[in-house]
């Protein structure tokens, strides 16, 4: 039987745990015209949406999950839908940044979902199943 090269599964879980477990997190929305991405180290107000009912910095995320591990894939997903109550966002946006306020607004990830506006209504982002194949953040 041959040896197998790879990062240890428990190390992956520990790495993910260190940035998500028990952290207070928020979700901010970004305009289509923005250039927000993985190179942003922390939350930025540049390119963020603005409009009636939307507070700069976005909304708090329910974070009841800790980093899980199945086989060699670590994963994590917010434990509830990200919900913006009645807002009007007339300029098209297409991305959300999830960031950790516990860790000086560290950018956890940017997720895109196609151009969108909202008029006098709620807006929601329903999370995928929290597992190793569909979790929002996976470390494989």
């Amino acid at each position: 039987m041959a040896n197998t090269q790879g990062i240890g599964a428990a190390a992956k879980q520990a790495a993910l745990s260190s940035i998500v477990d028990s952290k207070a997190m928020k979700a901010a929305l970004y305009l289509v015209s923005a250039t927000t991405g993985p190179t942003n180290t922390v939350y930025t107000a540049t390119g963020e949406v603005s409009g009636s009912g939307y507070s700069p910095g976005g909304v708090s995320i329910t974070n009841g999950n800790t980093a899980g591990l199945t086989s060699t894939t670590a994963y994590w997903t917010p434990s509830a839908t990200i919900a913006f109550s009645t807002v009007t966002l007339a300029t098209a946006f297409d991305a959300v940044m999830i960031y950790s306020t516990t860790d000086s607004n560290r950018n956890i990830g940017i997720f895109t979902f196609g151009s969108q506006t909202v008029t006098a209504a709620p807006f929601s982002l329903t999370m995928p199943t929290n597992d190793s194949s569909t979790g929002l953040v996976r470390f494989a």
């Binding site: 006098a120 209504a121 807006f123 953040v137 996976r138």
Partner: protein
């Protein structure tokens, strides 16, 4: 006793009788990593309420690679 109340809905023009609006328009979109549904209400052709809901399907995966010893 008769019930004269009519259902109202919040719009960009304030609360409006649902019956004054055009029929609800439901628009579905699907991409590789998300599914979106938009509920659109119009009054005389103008959008007065647009309510999007997005289901994220399968977004980010990071690969952890162990470097080879040369």
């Amino acid at each position: 006793m008769t019930n004269t109340e009519q259902p109202m809905i919040y719009t960009s023009m304030g609360n409006m009788p649902l019956s004054d609006l055009e029929p609800l328009e439901v628009v579905w979109e699907r991409a590789e990593t998300w599914v979106k549904v938009r509920l659109i209400y119009r009054y005389q052709g103008e959008i007065v309420r647009e309510e999007p809901h997005i289901l994220i399907l399968e977004p980010l995966q990071f690969e952890a690679t162990a470097g080879a010893l040369n």
